[in-house]
Symmetry: C2
Subunit: 214 residues, 2 copies
Amino acid sequence: MSGSAAGPSGPIRLLLADDQALVRGALAALLSLEPDLTVVAEVGRGDEVVPEARRTAPDVALLDVEMPGLDGIAAAAALRTALPTCRVLVVTTFGRPGYLRRAMEAGANGFVVKDTPARQLAEAVRRVHAGLRVVDPTLAAETLATGASPLTERETEVLRAARGGGAVADLAGVLHLSEGTVRNHLSAAIGKTGARNRAEAVRIAEQNGWLLGG
Amino acid sequence: MSGSAAGPSGPIRLLLADDQALVRGALAALLSLEPDLTVVAEVGRGDEVVPEARRTAPDVALLDVEMPGLDGIAAAAALRTALPTCRVLVVTTFGRPGYLRRAMEAGANGFVVKDTPARQLAEAVRRVHAGLRVVDPTLAAETLATGASPLTERETEVLRAARGGGAVADLAGVLHLSEGTVRNHLSAAIGKTGARNRAEAVRIAEQNGWLLGG
DNA sequence: GACGGCCCCTGACAAATGTCACGGCCGGAA
DNA sequence: TTCCGGCCGTGACATTTGTCAGGGGCCGTC
């Protein structure tokens, strides 16, 4: 394959985090085909990343974004502070602009969507390990075009709560706000997203990756 | 690994269909580790399944449900009629009751969610190839409990159109119905799903896998 | 200190949404 | 045949939702 032998310090040690066991195992098989890579740890939850990394001391961590316990972005941030020498490559299903932005702010070294050809993954790992940044250029452009979230903290919070599809009264109860206030925040969010609807606003915000966390 | 050598008729020939190239390639790597399995085709769209299967004559096809062009269930049905001897194993991200039901009705021989351990996939392929049915028992029970979709054809159609978050007027335009009729179908769907909302009804129906096709 | 931005609340109004009672159509049961 | 039940379509009606114009409080920066 690509011309890389195991360096003088031995093969690159990898940690894999993905909530789908089948995908996790398949990625492990794929990466294990490369002689200079070795998978030393696998986890299925975001909150298991740091403990497992402490135990196994990987060189590079591949983190999915959508995970129970802790999303991959938050796990990346935690990993950066816990093991600063460990590089982070975020591997996600959805190429959402906000995801990339948040990942970079969290200190990730690379960002790859699951649409990329399988052959390129190992090369991305090597680049990240070498200290380079790896980012899908198309997605990077889109991220710059979309810009950061225009939503205020309260507005995102209300939109997040509105994902379930509950009525205003329900949201007001959960968030401990007046109904009028909830309506106001929703209205602001609808305006900022350019939506015509509460439902559409939720959809747009979600697609842009503005609803992470919480 | 598991005690299975290549049979007298050679290794089992596989076709992989998944829209995420990385996952597809990783699955290929995983399955290629087994000496009695060989991947002869990979496609990223549902409507490429049958043509590619005609060309390569696989023994077993692994189909993802969420795919562009044609969903995995519909592709399974098409494959059953085009190549009746080819077995079908549906591999999906979401273990939705309706998916399993529809897959079985479409003639699939097995149904596996991506949460299952990687080691079990090869075994599932062998079982399906041997003519056995492979179904996650937990999911099967849930499917029986949930029952078939209570929604009428029109109701599902309207709910599907409502996913985008558009207003009643928009839906009426797309479906060529009166606004009152659309509202009526939505109301019925809300009642049958036990939702309090159009948005909630969409969520529930989607989670149960009642919105496939179209 | 004055200003601006964000947050929280309120009340009123127009527009969209959800509910209901109704009629027509079709296919199976009596 | 007649009846019944399900699905489809429609329009009237009450409720909810989204918008707007306010008000006050809490930070920060200038």
